[in-house]
């Protein structure tokens, strides 16, 4: 097995396939109080993230859209990771998650999000893995221009 094959297996782990085939929290949310659109113009990935926030806590989160396996699985894993967290906790997690994929990984338990660590070896795919997070961030700050990963 070549180094590249090893990297590929790290990228496409079973958890990724599972969340790609059956994304969690994959529905729209008419009663959402925050939402934002995200778009990766390079590959056409497109999604909308919905939020219900109560007392600064993310009570409910969902997404709809289409994209590659990495972006779909990352969005799905993100919804699981942020539910029940405060807005500040989510923003800090986004920052750390971004660093996990691009810089020196911070000391923290990423839980299931750690399966996306394999993206590190594929710089061209970092945008796929972070699109949902950028979109979530825009929803939180109330930016209604579509999120970009640039």
């Amino acid at each position: 097995m070549s180094a590249m094959d090893g990297n590929l297996r790290e990228l496409y782990q079973e958890v990724i396939f599972d969340h790609n085939r059956q994304p969690r929290n994959f529905h729209d949310m008419p009663e959402a109080d925050h939402h934002a659109d995200g778009h990766n113009p390079l590959c056409g990935d497109q999604l909308t993230v919905y939020l219900r926030i109560n007392n600064d806590v993310i009570e409910d989160v969902s997404f709809v859209g289409h994209g590659c396996a990495i972006s779909t699985a990352s969005a799905s894993l993100m919804t699981e990771a942020v539910k029940g967290k405060t807005v500040a906790e989510v923003e800090a997690l986004f920052k750390d998650f971004h660093a996990l994929l691009t810089e020196t990984p911070p000391e923290r338990d990423f839980g299931k999000l750690a399966v996306l660590t394999g993206v590190r070896e594929f710089p061209a795919r970092v945008k796929c893995a972070t699109l949902a997070w950028h979109t979530l961030h825009n929803a939180l700050i109330g930016d209604h221009d579509p999120a970009r990963t640039e």
Partner: protein, 421 residues
């Protein structure tokens, strides 16, 4: 792999003896042989082109049109000779109908900003097709905003062809400009350009043809096509990046105002008023890409030495071979199956997003393009976010197609969606 070896499924492909001409093909990628199938994006460069550019800087470099010294005259001669090479290559009547630009995009923008701004007024119509690359859409949208002209779009059918009937239905005396691609970069469809030009001329429209995907893959002759403008890029023709061509019929160029102002495009300058040079200098403000033009001429020489007839025959045989080999993969669907196609294969794999496929193919050293190919409206027409695209060139052969098929099967295995044929 058995899908390719089966002679009933895959017609025999040919091979041109050129692999040694392209040094980059010898470099491994991820420890594997590079299988370069992204020629629609840009082609690789033969040694003859790389050397021509280097030789210019080593032996001939000087600015053009402005030195009395020997070297400047020498460089000017090489630049002018490159223009003449392009003229002969595309069958233009005169060398001054050839304007050097940065590429196709700049050539189209030049027409929009000069001919377009002068000629178009509110209510005039520009007709394009659904096949167009963004660079043959956006400049016209910008021109419409500036002038009040209206953009019309001829549809494509299910297999990716612009049918002449639906094209004709949108032509009218209001149509001032028709801007069409010669070959679709996303689907490979070859438009019946000569007929479309004749029909457009019949209503008095001027025709621009986007030849970015055509010039390297079939003989192109301005007199036979009859078009008024023709745009292409050097880098898709085995030449360098940063150099391209706008062909314009002399009568039209003579009447077009300049676009960018600066050195080389003037006759006289005073603070009250400047007068402009004739075409092509009027449209080549500033120091051009001299080395690029010289190397583009070397690329044209390379293609012509190889012989366009041989190139066409080879790429056609390889396209048929590849179409059969890919179509035999369960779960693969071709997008764009026009009757008249060039060497571009766009496809979707069931349950695998093109972007994921691109990454997995890359891990096998197979370079393809995944995405919307700068043709988002066309993707929307087919209800898909994008495709995977393999595009062929002179150095590709059946071993490349075999590698592509094997890599696709690897992706299907990884995604757990592989079915035996």
């Amino acid at each position: 792999m058995n899908t390719v070896a089966d002679p009933l499924r895959a017609p025999a492909a040919t091979r041109l003896p050129v692999a040694d001409d392209f040094p980059i093909l010898a470099r491994p990628v991820h420890g594997r042989r590079l299988v370069y199938l992204d020629n629609g994006a840009t082609t690789q460069k033969p040694t003859a082109v790389i050397e021509a550019e280097a030789r210019f800087y080593r032996e001939s470099n000087a600015n053009i049109h402005r030195g009395v010294h020997w070297l400047s005259q020498h460089a000017t001669e090489l630049y002018d000779a490159a223009r003449a090479t392009v003229q002969r290559f595309i069958g233009a009547a005169r060398a001054d109908e050839i304007i050097f630009t940065r590429g196709t995009t700049e050539a189209i923008n030049l027409v929009a900003n000069t001919w377009g701004r002068k000629q178009l007024t509110a209510g005039d119509e520009i007709l394009i097709t659904t096949l167009e690359h963004h660079s043959n859409i956006v400049p016209w949208q910008m021109l419409c905003e500036q002038t009040g002209a209206v953009l019309k779009v001829a549809p494509v059918n299910e297999i990716g062809e612009v049918e002449l009937d639906s094209f004709d239905a949108l032509l009218s005396p209001r149509t001032r400009l028709v801007a069409i691609t010669h070959i679709s970069n996303a689907l490979g469809t070859v438009n019946p350009v000569a007929e479309m030009v004749a029909h457009a001329h019949a209503v008095g429209a001027v025709v621009l043809v986007d030849g970015a995907q055509a010039v390297a893959h079939q003989a192109v002759d301005m007199q036979a096509l009859g078009c008024d403008f023709y745009a292409f890029s050097g880098h898709k023709l085995y030449g360098p990046t940063g150099i391209g061509v706008l062909y314009g019929r002399a009568e039209l160029l003579a009447d077009m105002p300049p676009w960018q102002g600066g050195g080389d495009m003037i006759r006289t300058v005073s603070f009250e008023r400047s007068t402009y040079a004739e075409a092509p200098q009027r449209f080549e403000a500033g120091t051009p890409n001299i080395a690029g033009a010289v190397a583009l001429a070397a690329a044209i020489d390379y293609v012509q030495a190889l012989g366009m007839d041989r190139i066409v025959a080879h790429e056609h045989a390889l396209l048929e071979h590849a179409t059969a080999a890919l179509s035999a993969i369960p779960g693969l669907r071709m997008v764009g199956t026009a009757a008249h196609k060039a060497g571009i294969l766009s496809f979707m794999i069931e349950h695998i997003h093109p972007h994921d496929l691109g990454t997995i193919l890359d891990s096998e050293g197979v370079a393809i393009r995944a995405g919307h190919h700068c043709a988002m409206p066309l993707m929307t027409r087919f209800g898909i976010p994008g495709t995977a695209r393999a595009s062929l060139a002179v150095y590709n052969d059946d071993t490349d197609i075999a590698a592509l098929v094997t890599a696709i099967e690897k992706a299907q295995t990884l995604f757990g969606t592989r079915k035996r044929p």
